[in-house]
Symmetry: C2
Subunit: 379 residues, 2 copies
């Protein structure tokens, strides 16, 4: 079943007539997710409960979109447009149905937010509302959640493949990364390899020295120096992204502080892994991980200031329950959800370590798909 | 004057109290534009008319944001938050002012659209509206337009630099691109060079054979074969993006058809260039370009099915009047706007050519910043 057919089935379940995605310049990931190709112009996609799916690309992208849908085995009518007014006219004619789902989130500032569905810009929403005054618009969050949170066998196979390729590359870092190279140069090398077969899942984080303590550091022109070198990177080949962090040691011998923190994180990750199981509250892996770090004497409230992980799918930050000690009790993991497990310890202005692996939530136990080295690799 | 100060000045001109940007996961380019660093988590930026600018990053990004603002010489208070509820509380306390600009567009489905400002998702807008019921929200379009459409001397210098680096790389393509390499491998090589000093402005389009006829082709695993090879690529080092297309010929001798189309496009580009001048209707360069192509016997309505170019700034598709034969008469070019000039001719399913250069709109004549080769480079 392709994604259009799966979404159609969900539409029938929730009694909606269609799922409409209106995109201008790459601002909704679900366009590439559905079309299989990146469209960089105004366009719309209508998945219809009755199976009469339609895609409205601009003329200059029509051939590209048609070819991609054909490759994906999607049966959808492609209706190109030449001008904004023609696009609007076509939307009006084909989309004025009683109940249409749009990509917007609800309860954005509350615990039960569906912010993962929040894409359509306010101006575009308002224009649609005016164009189709009798249509009831509902949030597409349930569709997106069902499509993306629990993975199919094919998606899991894609995950294993992309993770294997990423790990093989991380193993080669000590062969090419040298003192004096810039962080960007290391990032460039990784992304060069990705681009040959796929694409970076996100801009690689390469952090030397004190930059390793900024979890979302933007790789810079700073030269690699002795001490910790944190690399957080992932790629996408087919449907799934990898997202892996290794922390290397640059120079002769890792310091005792570094080795101790590394070992504590390595062990805490193994402990957390035990709780990535079907039916378990999604806060439990993080709670258990933090308990262990506290036992080892780390002030985790201060030093580990982010969630334990996140869902992983077509995007590096995917759709699924929050994996954090602050997640509510009712938030539950399910078999074949895919997560990162990424505890970290950071001394701001000094250095940090994060060890991040990817895993598949299992019935009794998780399938760990990637493995950080037990001892830090030395560069 | 840094961007915070410039935006503050505009706020005073339009009698608004602040410009608020609320971002979740990279969904508003103006965050990186203002902060100078990519934030990949929920955060908010308030530029205040009274100068009390504030940035609300999540704790894990606070140090990174602080350092970037310091480097940029921005005087703004950084107020980190630990949880969603803390973020919401802080927004409520600091942002409840009478009149706040948000990044949404107006008239999205009409000719005079400000879709270039349409970023804030509908769900986020609704939550803000509920949180700050007495605040009047206006569109930030006038602020964005004034900040981005006409360039400063520093931005123009950045443009010249990034264009020079991109052209130097395009000149080397015949040295490394070979028959049998995949499109992705060529893209990977280009982006490898970009990543060492900056970043790709957008995913490079490398189209061999019939792929050259899809203007927004996604580089694929297709192997380069004899015939046209279209490369549309750009990079960003500092503030400005380059965006350049060269069409090469792979194999022994370019066909007569190819050479004729190449020459016609090359000449049409020179003609269009004459009209990228201050005070000129923005449709004129495209009208004149199309007139020339028609003279040369090309059915431009059918074969050249996109606009002549677009504004170029911090993004490859930047902010400024539309440069298209369909743009309205009241839409006027101004000195120091930056544009692409990119006529193309495409025979769908066969092959296409596009020649794209970047230029600065001038008082009497434009400054052409990049130059396509007069004769196609042969690989």
């Amino acid at each position: 079943m392709n994604k259009f057919e799966k979404a159609q089935q969900i539409l029938q379940e929730i009694n909606a007539d269609g799922w409409l995605i209106v995109v201008n310049e790459d601002n909704d990931i679900h366009s590439r997710y559905l079309l299989g190709v990146g469209s960089h112009a105004l366009h719309a996609i209508l998945i219809a409960a009755d199976g009469n799916h339609k895609v409205f690309p601009v003329v200059m992208e029509a051939n590209m979109v048609k070819n991609s849908l054909k490759k994906k085995g999607v049966d959808a009518e492609v209706i190109p447009f030449n001008s904004l007014s023609e696009f609007v006219e076509k939307l009006k004619n084909f989309v004025s149905k009683p109940k249409i789902a749009l990509d917007f989130g609800e309860n954005i500032f509350q615990e039960n937010t569906t912010s993962y569905a929040d894409y359509i810009p306010f101006g575009t929403y308002s224009a649609l509302k005016k164009l189709l005054p009798t249509t009831e618009f509902i949030s597409a969050a349930p569709i997106i959640y069902e499509l993306r949170s629990v993975k199919s066998a094919e998606e899991l196979e894609d995950l294993r493949n992309v993770c294997k390729a990423t790990i093989e590359l991380l193993e080669t870092v000590p062969d090419f990364a040298k003192i004096g190279m810039t962080e960007r140069e290391v990032m460039a090398k990784l992304e060069y390899e990705y681009a040959k077969v796929g694409k970076p899942a996100f801009p690689a984080i390469v952090g030397t020295g004190e930059h390793s303590a900024d979890p979302h550091h933007n790789s810079s022109n700073e030269k690699i120096k002795p001490g910790p070198l944190l690399i957080d990177t992932g790629m996408q080949i087919d449907e799934m992204c990898s997202d892996i962090t290794w922390t290397y040691w640059v120079g002769n011998n890792p310091s005792e502080e570094f080795k101790n923190a590394y070992n504590a994180l390595y062990e805490s990750k193994i402990i957390a892994n035990k709780y990535y199981t079907d039916g378990t509250p999604s806060r439990l892996p993080a709670v258990k991980c933090r308990e262990y770090l506290a036992e080892k004497g780390y002030d985790h409230e201060k030093l580990f200031f982010h969630g334990l992980g996140h869902a992983l799918d077509f995007e590096a930050h995917g759709v699924g329950p929050r994996v954090s000690s602050k997640a509510p009790e009712y938030s539950i993991l399910k078999e074949n959800m895919v997560y990162t497990n990424e505890p970290g310890l950071y001394w701001i202005g000094k250095w940090g370590i994060r060890l991040e692996d990817d895993l598949i939530v299992g019935k009794e136990k998780c399938e760990q798909v990637t493995y950080n080295p037990k001892d830090p690799l030395v560069i």
